[in-house]
Symmetry: C2
């Protein structure tokens, strides 16, 4: 096990009707002038935005609103948010929505207190470890990205459609309100995308070259098994509160890094996927459903025993002691079959990309002759091969 | 799943040589005048205390020391610590040791800022939710109690040997330095006691009447399986750093409540044990090794399927579909056999108690005709029966 630091200071408030307490938690973490940041449609239509406003009104908290966050949130709205925060002397950013809204909120919180261009942090031109940000709180409406408990933010720059991430302790939300009932109205497709993203956050940590990490291995496997057990329930019965609750908590644990500490992590599937969703505007989870099994097929020979481990422990495949490779492959097949069963695409074409897009995808990865990933280091040729494995045959 | 709040803001610094960074973290969390609180022997003999002092010296941090914490820490030393903190205008309490030292440090941190008797909090005469405490940091030397990440403190009052607990967010350590190498010198018996305590923290949460808690069930099972895998390694090879590291992280995760949120918890084994260690001064983990299997035997009929679940998933027992009760019992037997295999006692007599002590133990539980526990509510007669089941036959 490697040395590590782990810091997850977010105050989680979980359960039915918990969004009513938002004013109390804004106060608790020092907010008095709030930017409510959100997406659009569902938060307005469901009445959640009005409920949040009226909860803040009840506590005498001033607020302004900024809607319009889209999936794969872009820098344009972030600049707008920063300007608004400065003009209105905002001291707290409240994200009401899913991972995109939270990521956009984190970027605004970071950029408001920074004299330069917030994008500097996303291109590693400025060190986030030395940065400060406005406090962020969240009211989560989609179990997926784990941004409600993570230190990360992913933003796409319109020019060049560059999707880049940054991460630092200053971006950890002060509080996150997790009411599973708010996710019950989410359509099956987005629900499945979210579940896929959660499982991907675990897999990116699970596939490691670090030895002797049994405790975090077991926690990773626990989360995967819980997701396999609960996801089909909500695909079948969208208003299954209990299954929604299990998924929502798994989504946080999967990405606040408690299951990934002390081990080299991979993240190649995320990197490969980011270019797909930047190009096709597909949901991040849908892109992962296509890329992850392809990535697994490409790399499993690197550590057949680890792929057997997940096949046996998580997917319940019998171990073939005479031919471990077949067990490893059976696990990958089980994962792909699971993704199909919850309605996920498993080919690039279903996302609106094709073989002709691959050179562009590879180029935008920005590898420039370098390599990426922790488990197996991939170069541009490897990336091309994985994208090809993700094509419909 | 029940509504819940989860807050674990401790900054964990994990790995080799991390104690050298203690000055940096005392500074980070606002300390300038430190009480170093510790036990005795090993911390001094190993040179750890001197290393900690010199690290604080290097950072120009003032400190005073107070040693002498014993297992099952008592109120006498807490009063002494409070007096010292006030006299020296201490603004940070640094615990160097195991759970007893950390619990004593938390009590001192709490009592220093409280005008009344700190014991009020342990008898629920004063509400800890409204209290403040000095910041506490820890350098952990024993993987066991989980106090390094928890909100709890257990202290024994000398008069009457009353062992009582309190818990609140103000008691969560600001930082905890976890260097597995510091635990390598721990003798096998104490190591096994610690492992038993960690497993007990999981079981107390696992046995619940709350339905639909698959995610936390799976995390609980993950921790138990990791402990079953790693503990025999360190009993055999005390300086197995990697196994020590897995156990140390499992010990934190087992008790910061991430595996226990949203579910009614039990804690009867802890309550029943506290009176045993208060009476016999046995190690808490040894007491748990005696009480937990006895408690399981007494209550398993309350939910045979849950006992089958742990038997099959954690202990790898085959499910007997014709006779589930036999599977439930096989799981309990496997747990007892595991405890024996790591050198733990499994009878009251081995702890120095006997049948004649049972009336006293039952009386000091302080039930006064009431009931205790979350999974099965126990009265005094039940407690007596469980103590009897823990006797050597």
């Amino acid at each position: 096990m490697n040395n590590f630091k782990f810091y997850s200071p977010t105050y989680f408030v979980f359960g039915k009707d918990t969004e009513k307490q938002v004013g109390e938690y804004v106060h608790k973490f020092g907010g008095s002038r709030v930017l409510i940041h959100y997406g659009g449609g569902s938060v307005v239509k469901s009445g959640l935005l009005e409920r949040v406003k009226s909860a803040l009104d009840d506590d005498g908290i001033y607020y302004v609103t900024l809607g319009g966050v889209k999936p794969n949130p872009t820098s344009g709205l972030v600049y707008k948010g920063i300007e608004l925060c400065r003009k209105e002397k905002i001291d707290f950013v409240l994200a009401v929505g899913g991972g995109s809204v939270i990521d956009s909120s984190k970027a605004i919180a970071l950029g408001t207190l920074y004299e330069g261009d917030f994008w500097d942090f996303y291109e590693d031109k400025s060190r986030i470890a030395n940065a400060t940000a406005l406090p962020v709180g969240t009211i989560l409406t989609i179990a997926a990205a784990g941004s409600e408990g993570s230190s990360d933010s992913v933003i796409t720059k319109e020019e060049g459609m560059l999707k880049r991430a940054t991460g630092g302790d200053c971006l950890r939300p002060k509080f996150s309100i997790l009411n599973p009932a708010l996710t019950q109205t989410l359509p099956a497709y987005q629900t499945a995308c979210g579940a896929t993203d959660i499982m991907a956050h675990v897999f990116e940590r699970y596939f490691t070259n670090t030895e002797n990490v049994e405790t975090t291995d077991r926690i990773c496997e626990a989360l995967l098994m819980a997701m396999i057990h609960e996801t089909p329930k909500v695909i079948k019965t969208p208003d299954d509160y209990e299954a929604r609750a299990n998924i929502m908590w798994a989504g946080m644990v999967a990405h606040n890094d408690i299951c990934g500490v002390g081990r080299e992590q991979d993240w190649n599937s995320h990197w490969l996927e980011h270019e797909i969703s930047a190009l096709t505007d597909c949901a991040h989870g849908a892109g992962l459903a296509v890329i992850m099994p392809a990535w697994m097929e490409y790399v499993y020979r690197h550590d057949i025993m680890r792929f057997c481990k997940v096949a046996v422990r998580v997917w319940g495949c019998p171990m073939d002691f005479d031919n471990p490779e077949s067990t490893a492959k059976a696990g990958i097949a089980a994962f792909r079959a699971f993704l199909k069963s919850i309605g996920m695409p498993t080919t690039m074409q279903e996302l609106g990309a094709d073989e002709k897009d691959i050179p562009y995808l590879v180029k935008t990865l920005g590898l420039n002759g370098g390599k990426t990933g922790g488990f197996v280091h991939l170069d541009e040729k490897d990336a091309e091969n994985i994208y090809k494995l993700a094509l419909r045959k």
